[in-house]
């Protein structure tokens, strides 16, 4: 009769060491196979506040991330066919008021008047907007229209808030056709739940 030598069960220490090693390997595999994802909520419709969502979305897409942006309230106007975005110095005390052109001694100098006072001058908003646009184009900052098309090209998913359209009585034909869907918070949140990065702008 063959007698078999009984094999001692592995010790706890051996099991732990084996598990730790396998766990690390598995986690590395999962990490390598994982596509990062980001969801943004864009709520502002001014020229200055249009930049953060479009810059973050287009850059994340360039890094290979999956990106969705939910446009709600004033942020919805960033999806209009005709973008007519403005910037206001009112309530923006940190906004530097510098002339983009004019005499060299004056260029780049901050105007010594509080932004809240400047805002009271009729037509000042239009002037501030055109000054901002001029400064941006001089510094090689992309216009919002261009960043938005780069987002569309990079397959950033543009999601529009249905409630906002009803609230402000917009017509859906005022918006770009690339909008993926018109939904509410309940449809957006499950997407945010599984995303690695969630930002509110």
């Amino acid at each position: 009769m063959n007698s078999t030598v009984p094999v001692a069960p592995p010790s706890h220490e051996d099991l732990d060491a084996w598990f730790d090693q396998r766990f690390e390997e598995k986690m590395k595999q999962r990490e390598a196979a994982h596509t990062p994802s980001m969801t943004l909520i864009a709520t502002k419709g001014t020229l200055d506040m249009a930049y953060p969502p479009f810059i973050l979305a287009s850059t994340a897409a360039a890094l290979g991330w999956e990106v969705s942006v939910f446009f709600t309230f004033y942020g919805l106007s960033l999806l209009k066919k005709d973008l007519d975005l403005k910037v206001t110095p009112l309530g923006n005390p940190a906004m530097p008021m510098k002339l983009p052109e004019g005499p060299t001694w004056l260029q780049g100098k901050e105007l010594p008047i509080p932004t809240s006072v400047m805002s009271l001058i009729p037509g000042f908003e239009g002037m501030a907007t055109s000054m901002m646009r001029k400064t941006m184009s001089k510094k090689g900052i992309a216009p919002i229209e261009e960043l938005r098309s780069l987002c569309i090209e990079a397959e950033v998913r543009l999601i529009a808030c249905q409630m906002t359209v009803d609230l402000f009585e917009y017509g859906k034909d005022e918006f770009i056709p690339e909008i993926e869907e018109w939904v509410g918070a309940a449809s957006f949140l499950p997407r945010a739940l599984t995303a690695d990065v969630n930002l509110f702008v």
Partner: protein
């Protein structure tokens, strides 16, 4: 210069344009192809490094000369 090398002029463009243009130019290359990027945005030095480490492309060299930045990236 081999025919596998392309040049992207991203000078006088600011964040995030150099990254977005790089992504687009690299998409048009074959694997192993090399993209040379010219930029003036000082932020592009760290941003293109981050771009490479996220996307797996290889930064072969990153140099500065007279306020211009010159990068060579190999497509993975």
């Amino acid at each position: 210069m081999s025919e596998n090398t392309q040049t992207l002029d991203a000078r006088n463009q600011n964040c995030p344009l150099p990254i977005l243009r790089t992504r687009k130019a690299i998409a048009g290359l074959q694997i192993g192809g090399i993209l040379e990027v010219l930029a003036t945005d000082p932020g592009s030095v760290k941003d293109l490094d981050a771009f490479c480490s996220q996307t797996g492309h290889e930064m072969l060299s990153s140099k500065e000369k007279d306020g211009e930045f010159h990068f060579r990236i190999r497509k993975a």
